[in-house]
Each structure stands twice: as C-alpha cells, then as structure tokens.
Amino acid sequence: MGGNENTMGFQDKNENFLSRPVSGMGTNVSDISNPFLGSSAWDPLFSLSQTQTFGGSSLVSHSDFANSSYPSVLENQGMSGSSHLVQYMPDSNFADMIPKIPSYGNGDITNAGYALSYNPNKEAGIGTAPINDDQLQGDPSSPDEGVTSSPIGNRRKRGLDHNPTFSPSKSSDGEALKGSSGKSSDGVKEQDDKKPKFDQNASADLRGKQSGKQAKDNSQNGEAPKENFIHVRARRGQATNSHSLAERIRREKISERMKLLQELVPGCNKITGKAVMLDEIINYVQSLQQQVEFLSMKLATVNPELNLDVERILSKDILRSRIGHGAIGGYGGGIINSNHLFGGGSFQGTLGSMPSTSPNIPPLPQSVMDHELQSIYGMGYDSNSALQNLGPQAGR
C-alpha cells in the first residue's frame, strides 16, 4: 500500500480539517478531528503521521500528548453527544485515529460510513441516560492519567467481542494486544473499536463479559461496561463490577422517577429520601381519590340547581382552580394534613397566603375570590370535618 499515498491523503484530509471551523461535533469524520484541531496536538501528530508508516511504537508517546489535550477539547465541545464521541478517543489515542483517516481516504469508506452512522446511534443511546452527563465530567480527567497502554489494552479487549459484522480481521487484531505493536493492525482495530462502541446496543452482552477483565483498567479510564439499554460510565474510583454498575443504573433510574414524581406533588421538594417521598406521593394520591369520592357524594346529595350556565361555572372554576392549586401548594409538607387544615383554624392563614402563591391573579378577581374563598372555607369547615369522619370510617 502506498505509505506515501496515505500520508498524502492524510495531508489532504488534514488540510480539509484545518480549514473547517471547530464547531460542535457532527456526524462527520472530519468533525471528529476538529476538536483536536482546537488543541495544538494536531501538528505534532501530523508530522508524526508523516514520518511514520503506521508503525505504532512511537505513537504511544504522542498519544499521551493527544490525551493531555483532550480535556481542553472536551471542554470546548461542551456537548454530551460529542464529548461521548471524543471520550472514546482517549482510549483510541488520537494518534491512532490519524492512520484511520487515511484509510478512510483510501477507500475504506465502509468504515467511514460506520462512523457516520454510529454517531447518532450512540448519541441517541446515551441521550437516554442523563446520568452520562454527570459521568462525562469524570472522563476528561481520565486521559490525564497518561496510561495509554491500558486504554489501548481496553480497546483491544473490546475489539475482541465486537460484532463480527464490522470486520473479520478484528478477532485477529484483538489478539494483538498490549501496547501499540503493529500499527496497521492497531489502526484497523481502532477503527473497529471505535465504531462498535457506537453500536452499543448490539454488543451490550459482550461488554458485560468484558467488564470483569476491564475492571482494573476501567477504574483508571472510566470506561464502563454497557447495559443493554442505557449506556453508563463508571465513575472514577467507583466499583466497576457489572453487578454494582447495574445497581447504580437502577438507582439512578429510580431517582429519575422520584424527581418526576416530586414535581407532581406540591411541597415535595424539601423532602428527601425515597421512602418518605414515596409515602407522601401515595398518600397524596389517595387523598385526592378520597376527595373525589367525597365530593362526588356531596354532589349527589346536594345535587340541586344545576341550572348554572357552564360558562359561568367555568369562569368561576378557573379562579377556583387557582385557589385549589394555591391551596394545595400552601399546605407545604403535610399533604395528608390538607384535609385537616381545611377543618383547622389555620384557614385564614392560608387564605391570606393564597394570593401570594398565585401572583398572577389580578386584583379584581381576587376580591371576588376572597368572598368566594370565605364561602368555600365556610363550607369547607363542615365538609371537611365530614370528610375527616368519613376518612377513617370509609377505610378507603
């Protein structure tokens, strides 16, 4: 193969890359290298590639250089998706990337195609787990370790179990582990390593296998074995046992859900702790259901002049719903106690605070509201004492 041709091709590509502005990461192979353009790492590597003919030995030192430039690059990107992509780079050792590019140029377009297509997949896959954003910050520090051989080793190992569709040569490449021997194999392998990582869903099981092997290395570079659905990185210094990772992922999912649920229940922001939160939510929903039942019963018994115009009802209803939301919000922590508050004498207090909780009520309706509020609360005393009686008895 034309080594010169490669370097030339590489040169051309470099020029292209250089001319392109450093923007966010796109699905462009050239864009992949743009972040590195942002750092000064490009030039040395450029010259490196020129001098080398894919010999891998001296790349290690340069890869250190490349790795050190990563943090600034990553900061520049500031995009979770792109930084995911970039973070794969440290392990691949930017220098390793360089040989890949010419290979793209050489007509190994299939790989380029893979790279292009996998980017969105990976970003989509990772986008589902907001956890990754947190964990990404841990990753930029990992290249600083300067332990390039182990990251390379990691990628080699991963290459072992990658989908055979990528390249049949991968298995053989995977065996050529430990250090950057055989640059050509490294180059090919790195390509394959890079792309299969994008297609994480497919190789999730394989990753799980590798987690044990990679435990030591992962703790250094923060790469994580992947789950089937969510791709999570192990934070540095955390156990990277597949079990504990799965645990963490579960926990994070649960905390996500808890946050969602917290938004629903007013006054739950201050509450911490899963058990308490869940209990509050459940109690709140139960109390809502009880209120519905009670009110429907009330409607049934009262059931009087339903001659009211729907519009009129609605207009008052809107105001009332503001009140209702304000009331619910005004209760603060004791959600169950909302019913009790109704009966309690603290009503006037909440009444006074209510306009403040719903600030966008203009003064006019507010005066109307006050009157109606008082009437509601006047009723409320009766109705809710009844409700309280109902509550324990109904056993709902």
Partner: protein, 171 residues
C-alpha cells in the same frame, strides 16, 4: 364577561399548563353538569325510590366518566378506567366503589413495610401501580411513571372542579 376575558388572556400567556387545565375543566364540566342534570331529572321522575346509595354510585360513575373523557385519551390509564367503568356500569356500581376503596386499604397495609433499599423501591412502585387504574398491567416502570403523572394531574384538576361544583351548587 370580564372574568372570562381575563381568563383567556391569562391562558395565552406564561403558564403552559393552564391551557391544559382549562381544556380539561371545560370538557369535564360540560360533561358532568348535563349528566348530573339528567340524573336529577331521572330521580325526580322516579320519585326518589332509589336509595341514596344508588344515586351516589351513579354520580360517582359520572364523575369518573367525566374524568376519563376529559383527560388525554391516549393515556393508558384512561383506557383502563374506561374499561373498568363500562364493566361496572353493566354489572353494578358497588364494584367500582369497592375497587377504589380496596386499593387504598391494601396500600396502607403495605405502607408498614420498610424493607431495605431496592425491595422498598419495588414495593413502592407496586403501590403506585395499584393507585393508578390499569397500573398493574403497565409493562415498564417508565411508562407507569408517565401514566402516573398524567393521572395525578387529572385527579388534581378533577378535585378542583368538583370543589367548585359542590360549592356553587350548595349556594
């Protein structure tokens, strides 16, 4: 009406939820009020032979129906509730009230469990599922949480509306 005009203006501005709420309220009230009227007329015709219980059940049915119709029809829980309502309306409405009453009792019984860590989570999720109509059939927790959110919001709105109705009617 000034209130209405003000309301419309308010709806179009900052809070996006308001539009939802207003739409919900409109649908809900426009369903429930005529239904209650009809029921009242029916009862008047029958000279109050029916016991209060049956009236209450009917009202409850209408209330639930109103909730189902007003809420986002795409939600799983609305479908489940609709199904339950249709079943129970055909049979008798005792089941309806008893099912809703049984769920709180079972959940309160389970509330005493405070197992460690994940089991607690599982238990809590199960409880949440029981609260939402059709929650037990929902496959993933993610889906269940979304349904739960929409259900709780609709419940909140429903409670508000019922409050208003009750207050207005008893004037």
């Amino acid at each position: 009406m000034e209130g209405l005009a003000v309301k419309r203006r308010r709806v179009s501005c900052v809070e996006p939820n308001r539009i939802e709420e207003v739409a919900f309220a409109r649908k809900y009230v426009s369903y429930l009020v005529p239904a209650l009227k009809k029921m009242k007329e029916k009862n008047n015709k029958k000279e109050h032979e029916e016991s209060r219980d049956s009236i209450k059940k009917e009202v409850k049915y209408e209330v639930d129906m109103a909730l189902v119709l007003s809420a986002d029809q795409a939600s799983a829980w609305t479908n489940a509730l609709k199904l339950k309502l249709s079943l129970h309306n055909n049979n008798n409405q005792l089941l309806l009230s008893s099912s809703s009453s049984s769920s709180p009792s079972t959940t309160t019984a389970a509330a005493s469990d405070d197992g460690g860590g994940d089991e607690e989570e599982e238990e809590a999720m199960k409880r949440l599922r029981r609260l939402v109509p059709g929650g037990e059939e929902m496959c993933s927790d993610q889906e269940m949480v979304a349904e739960f959110k929409s259900y709780v919001r609709c419940l909140q709105m429903q409670v508000n509306i019922l409050h208003c109705l009750a207050q207005l009617n008893s004037f």
